[in-house]
């Protein structure tokens, strides 16, 4: 079956690279993995082609296939199977395309790494898991992919396992995702409890049965089942898609090699949450409370994370915070019931974010694993392809016309404006301010990296990086001949740049405005009019351009670029002055609002203290001390007491016998 091949090919490639990678020449690993993911991409593209062109004429809306029955519970069958519809077809193409380009790029990036084959095994497995997730037709399999990407990201973030910071970041990612899964499984459980099935189509068809049902926490405290289920599911999405307050694993995931940052941020991990909510749109539509919750969380993420992007000096961290902020945008779109806007932004974001990460990676290898932007600068001339593609990515990210981000971000802001759920005004203003901030931090990064005077090779004191460089067998003298990266690196950049340029202008009309998604995404357009308003306001591309010229976001973005230019190139000193005068605020931003410190202190140390309290108080004192030792002590005392009965004197026994006889006779007498 062709459909099954799409996820299975990457899996087989992963198994090959994982088990035989060390025994065969290393080029085998990358050939097998790239070929497998490449074929997956072609097959997915074929699926998308069929879905987009052939289905509308024949009236097919979705195609649900069951592979096998995983578990038969009697009342229902839990299966493994695929649901192919416009939504999953689009996701499959995005996932496999970005993943394929990352695979190719990895050949160049990881060239000297001893764990070459292992890395390919992991990223191919990552792709497999994500495909299982997006293609699934039921919650069980989605959970399978959901946890699979969690495992893959855990292994990849901790890929350089000798670095304690890397293994810690991997563990943090897994644990935070598990907190999300905690909510996710509750959501799944509630839907299962109410409907007795995990199959998407069945759930969508019977969503009305959920209305009016309640779930009780304890007697007397009852909530709407639909709301609790939706919030539970969304908590799962918060973990995967790194929404505040479950966001802090994502910046730390930068500990992994750069290709996986591109993979995690663009295609295979953080998009899972957004996708899941869009997939479950018929369910989420039923609960305004949940939508409010979503829009508020999304807006908060969008604005707070954008602010953090301003103060980072690590090039990958800037992009990481921008991902967080953009995920906030998508989440707002979900909360505003503009699901197709969220998916559209997911798609364009996948292209330009992968592009930015890979461009950053290109810079990082050119500078021999230097990630500090203060030690970059002036790379424009030396790395022209990287520079041009990075600017395209930045332009698209900032939402400037005519690139992809422009077409996908504006509708989200519009949707937040015309949404009706509580919190939408807050979201609207947060996103507006976010546009300014996005442009500002993005171009700060571009200016610091590629413009101005070159600062690389100046400072050699960073001990950690120094040690790492030594591991790569590179000396500092090599800094002087910084040059453009090889073709396996630049070609993916160019392809992604082309996507970032054209994905918006060509796809906006069919995907966002047109009826591409059809029944795959279900919005209640009467109660939640955001999408309807977008449709109403759409008068063609040209009109859209002209409108944009007069609207605030464009000018905010331009102002952001100007600000970035002022603080980085025109007058760098004023940035330091500003930072100093803002003292406390600046430190809070530098330290991720002290969220990490808070988690470390409350949850990590709290759990450890609780553990030692339980261990000493519960296990050693209560169980071992009181229960075991005191019982044995009691027995000992008892035995000592009883010992006096066994005196060995005949008259004692005779007395006891007489007494016993007397008591017995009395007893019988009474009876």
């Amino acid at each position: 079956m062709m459909l099954a091949l799409i996820p299975l090919l990457p899996l087989l490639a992963a198994l090959f690279a994982g088990f035989f990678g060390r025994r065969v020449p290393r080029c085998w690993s990358h050939w097998v993995c790239c070929a497998a993911v490449g074929i997956s991409f072609l097959l997915s593209a074929n699926v998308l082609y069929e879905v987009a062109t052939l289905w509308p004429s024949t009236g097919i809306q979705s195609n649900s296939v069951t592979l096998y029955t995983w578990l038969d519970l009697g009342s229902t069958k839990l299966t493994v199977g695929f649901l192919i519809d416009p939504l999953s077809a689009l996701m499959m193409v995005v996932v496999t395309l970005v993943s394929f380009l990352v695979h190719v790029y990895t050949i160049g990036y990881m060239k000297d790494d001893p764990g070459y084959a292992r890395f390919f095994a992991y990223i191919a497995f990552f792709t497999f898991s994500m495909l299982m997730l997006v293609m699934s037709n039921n919650f069980l399999q989605m959970f399978f992919g959901w946890e699979g990407v969690g495992l893959a990201s855990y292994l990849l973030i901790g890929f350089w396992y000798t670095r304690p910071s890397a293994t810690k970041a991997g563990m943090k990612a897994f644990l935070m995702n598990r907190v999300g899964d905690f909510g996710f499984i509750i959501g799944i459980g509630l839907l299962f409890a109410a409907l007795g099935t995990l199959d998407f189509k069945e759930i969508f068809g019977r969503v009305d049965e959920l209305r009016g049902l309640n779930v009780s926490l304890w007697p007397g405290v009852e909530w709407s089942l639909l709301t609790v289920a939706c919030i539970g599911l969304f908590i799962g999405a918060m973990g995967k898609s790194a929404q505040v307050p479950l966001h802090s694993w994502l910046p730390d995931s930068m500990e992994g090699p750069t290709p996986i940052s591109a993979l995690i941020h663009a295609a295979t991990m953080v998009t899972a949450g957004i996708f899941m909510v869009a997939r479950m749109s018929p369910v989420f539509e039923g609960s305004d409370t949940a939508l409010s919750f979503i829009i508020i969380i999304g807006a908060t993420t969008a604005i707070t994370m954008a602010l953090l992007g301003l103060v980072q000096n690590d090039i990958k961290r800037v992009i990481a915070y921008s991902t967080l902020s953009q995920l906030g945008y998508m989440t707002v779109a979900l909360g505003a019931s503009a699901y197709s806007a969220a998916i559209f932004h997911l798609m364009t974001h996948a292209f330009f974010k992968a592009l930015l990460f890979l461009a950053a990676g290109s810079v990082i290898i050119a500078l021999h694993h230097e990630q500090d932007m203060r030690k970059m600068g002036g790379l424009r001339k030396r790395m022209p392809i990287t520079y041009v593609t990075a600017v395209i990515g930045a332009w698209a990210l900032a939402g400037l016309p005519p690139f992809a981000g422009f077409f996908s971000k504006e509708p989200i802001i519009e949707a937040a404006h015309s949404a009706t759920v509580t919190g939408h005004t807050y979201a609207y203003w947060a996103l507006m301010l976010g546009v300014f901030l996005t442009a500002c931090y993005t171009f700060r990064m571009i200016f610091m990296t590629f413009h101005g005077a070159s600062r690389y090779g100046e400072s050699k004191s960073d001990a950690k990086r120094g040690a790492h460089k030594k591991a790569h067998g590179v000396t500092h003298e090599a800094h002087h001949d910084v040059h453009e990266s090889p073709k396996v690196v630049t070609i993916p950049l160019i392809v992604l740049a082309i996507c970032s340029v054209f994905a918006g202008i060509f796809c906006v009309e069919p995907v966002l405005i047109g009826d591409y998604f059809g029944a795959a995404i279900h919005g209640n357009y009467v109660a939640h009019p955001a999408m309807a308003e977008l449709h109403a306001e759409w008068h063609g591309i040209l009109d859209y351009f002209l409108n944009a010229l007069l609207s605030a976001p464009l000018w905010l973005a331009l102002a952001g670029i100007a600000t970035a230019w002022y603080f980085t190139l025109s007058s760098p000193k004023s940035a330091d002055r500003l930072a100093r005068s803002l003292g406390g605020v600046y430190n809070a931003l530098k330290n991720n609002y002290y969220v990490d410190a808070f988690y470390e202190r409350v949850f990590v140390r709290g759990a450890r203290s609780l553990a030692s309290v339980f261990m000493q108080g519960g296990e050693q004192f209560l169980t071992e001390g009181v229960l075991v030792q005191s019982t044995s002590q009691l027995v000992r005392w008892g035995a000592q007491g009883l010992r006096y009965l066994q005196t060995g004197y005949l008259y004692h026994y005779a007395f006891a016998m007489a007494l016993g006889l007397l008591v017995l006779m009395t007893w019988w007498g009474i009876l």
Binding site: D72, G158, Y161, T162, F174, R178, F192, E619
Partner: protein, 496 residues
């Protein structure tokens, strides 16, 4: 008895007595050829038993809740005690499990010099088959109790430094627990004039009597499972026992099986009445043992607490009286047995290399021992219920069942049960981070050799079974399904 299906040779008897007789012979032959003969014999017996068990599993008729492979002979006619054997969906999985575990445990033994230990393992194995296939309460009790003796000796003679203390505690706890069960059995005989467990299922009992019997059975099985607060013997026994014995002790879920075979069907009304208490105890165990596991510095002890925490989820599944949760609990018993066996084997491999398995001493093993590290990560993931592995199936079903069970505390129970996702991941990943990754803490790590062929084969077999189970659990649930459904239907009917 109606509807018994038996046109077979007495396979269950062979399964029971073959390892026991082999065990005695192993002991007798211990001086012949420096113990080589006895080791060969032990391996042979384990293989034969394994093949017979596979045969039983293949011939087992799924979709039927009836007793199969039945045998009955009057044993002590005066008290109508019968030698009655038979397996149904509740026990068949554990027959297979016991066969696999016995084979691995015996095959793992490298040295010829421990015939006594091999003999103890074989005898335990035979008695375990007996306990899982007994239909007569006295027979069950005899097997259940007799298992203590070889296990007591295995720990006491071949165990670690604290073995005397551990084995005494283990023996006294279990013996103490089963005394109450014995009283309950006598009472049930006095009202029914039979020791047939199936007959007792239909015995009308007043609620007060049921509550008393519940207490008696509960103490026996809660000690053996183990459940909080009667678990004090378990961590010590698991840690001090030689690995094979620890695996057999922890992986054969005879205690939890007792709940299914005796407690729930015989006193269902009391079980319903006390369910809130049992649910509370189980949830407490899940959270409490999970957090205690975080504080462990010894690898084996950490695994022990992890296993006990998962047993909390199993007992939770029993007392929710919900089909999903009950099926999940049965599958979780199997998967936890597999996981704990695998993890104890890994701990053993580390111990033979490091001398102990303190978490602080072994670190960064992935560099020197990629095979061991990979398998440990896999088993750790299976232990915390990663989908695709055996651990996921039961955990998922129990949590889903908890969220959907019928009571006013539906959501609360679900939320607390689901904490296992977070707590389990916390202690497991922290362990992996300290042992597998990170800086090398022990100077000798670099020089250590990776898994030998025997260890690699052994652990790979376990990994394959766990993966197969995780990808196609229907193969296992299909066998248990009918009996579990039947049990639930029976438990739902009041029998006052």
């Amino acid at each position: 008895m109606n509807g018994e299906m038996n046109n077979m040779p007495p396979v269950l008897s062979i399964l029971i007595w073959l390892p026991i007789i082999a065990g005695i012979l192993v002991l007798a032959l211990r001086h012949v050829g420096h113990g080589r003969w006895s080791r060969w014999l032990a391996n042979l017996a384990a293989w034969v038993a394994f093949i017979i068990a596979i045969f039983v599993l293949c011939r087992f008729q799924t979709g039927s809740g009836m007793m199969q492979f039945t045998e009955r002979v009057m044993w002590i006619p005066h008290f109508s005690i019968e030698y009655a054997l038979g397996i149904d969906g509740l026990s068949v999985l554990f027959i297979g499990m016991n066969a696999l575990i016995t084979l691995l445990v015996i095959a793992a033994q490298k040295s010829d010099s421990k015939s006594g230990y091999l003999s103890a393992l074989l005898i335990t194995s035979g008695l375990t088959y007996g306990a899982f296939s007994a239909r007569d309460a006295v027979l069950f009790y005899v097997f259940f109790e007799a298992m203590l003796i070889p296990m007591y000796l295995a720990i006491g003679v071949f165990g670690g430094a604290q073995r005397r203390y551990a084995t005494t505690k283990f023996f006294l706890y279990t013996l103490f627990g089963s005394l109450f069960m014995l009283l309950a059995l006598f009472y049930l005989y006095s009202v029914s004039q039979t020791f047939s467990m199936e007959a007792w299922q239909h015995l009308p009992l007043s609620i007060y009597m049921q509550l008393i019997l519940f207490g008696a059975f509960f103490i026996a099985f809660a000690v053996k499972t183990p459940m909080w607060p009667l678990h004090a013997w378990a961590p010590d026994a698991y840690v001090e026992a030689p690995t094979g014995a620890a695996v057999m002790l922890a992986a054969t879920k005879i205690g939890a099986y007792g709940f299914l075979r005796l407690l729930l069907p015989i006193v269902p009304d009391a079980a319903h009445q006390l369910a809130p208490l049992m649910i509370a105890l189980s949830l407490f165990a899940v959270i409490y043992f999970g957090i205690v596991a975080l504080a462990q510095t010894d690898l084996k002890r950490l695994f022990a607490y992890s296993s006990v925490a998962h047993m909390g989820l199993v007992t939770l599944g029993f007392f929710l009286f919900n089909a999903t949760a009950m099926k999940g609990a049965v599958l979780l018993m199997v998967s936890n047995g597999l996981a704990i066996a695998a993890l104890f084997f890994v701990a053993e491999s580390l111990k033979t290399r490091f001398g102990d398995c303190k978490l602080t001493d072994c670190g960064g093993i992935v560099k020197a021992m990629p095979w061991l590290a990979t398998l440990l990560v896999f088993f750790a993931m299976a232990n915390i219920g990663l989908p695709g592995t055996s651990g996921f199936v039961g955990e998922f079903l129990v949590i889903i069942g908890a969220v959907g069970h019928q009571s006013g505390y539906q959501l609360l129970v679900g939320l607390l049960a689901a904490t296992v996702l977070i707590i389990g991941a916390a202690y497991t990943l922290w362990m992996v981070r300290r042992v597998v990754f990170g800086p090398i803490t022990h100077p000798s790590v670099v020089a250590l050799s990776d898994l030998g062929t025997r260890e690699r084969l052994l652990l790979s077999v376990l990994a394959a079974v766990m993966l197969g189970f995780g990808l196609w659990p229907q193969a296992l649930l299909g066998m248990a399904d009918a009996s579990v459904t039947q049990l639930l239907a029976h438990v739902a009917l009041p029998k006052l």
